[in-house]
Symmetry: C2
Subunit: 112 residues, 2 copies
């Protein structure tokens, strides 16, 4: 599978950076993660998302939305809220969420 960085979009748009350290508790995590992807993918304001995790270390997921209203809809989703609550109790040792507005962006592809 080829994995590409999410491309640059026309500013302004919104980005939410979720950086986290997981607990060893995997119970329910893969299923919930798949369900969250399914839900957020139906959000018409979702531009894209990307994720990286250093084995045994930090994970960073970034979601890009057209506007704050689209992100708010995702934040308020009842299944997402339940997952966040469970995640705080079981899956995440620590996390930080930074939400902001993208003012400029650019991409580069080698030899393209």
């Amino acid at each position: 599978m080829k994995i590409d960085p999410v491309p640059a979009f026309e500013p302004p748009y919104v980005m939410a950076v979720f950086s986290n350290v997981r607990t060893p508790d995997e119970t329910g995590f893969p299923d919930t993660e798949a369900r969250m992807v399914e839900i957020v993918s139906k959000n018409p304001g979702l531009l894209g998302y990307e994720s990286a995790r250093t084995p045994g270390g930090l994970g960073i997921t970034v979601a890009y939305f057209r506007d704050h209203e689209s992100l708010a809809a995702w934040r308020k989703d009842t299944e997402h809220q339940a997952a966040m609550k469970h995640g705080r109790a079981h899956w995440y040792e620590s996390y930080t969420l930074h939400v902001g507005t993208v003012e400029r962006s650019h991409g580069h592809v080698r030899n393209a």
Copy 2:
């Protein structure tokens, strides 16, 4: 080594998300990366940075700055500019940079 997510700071602040896929070319990369860390760490406006890489896949690095002027100083650093140029030619298959202003953020630590 304990790796923590960069904490939430008092908004507004600036974040730069650099998501990338590397080439197999490692020549000079570790030394340059160490040197870049050394340079950016001297930037008085740097709040923190964090990085994650899925083996064989996507890497995401996020740097947080107090303001756009601090980020501009980092962007204009001559050694950094030379490293970016070399990186485009040799180290990165593709990348995207998204720069924006953080409007809200929060952190969570389990059982703390």
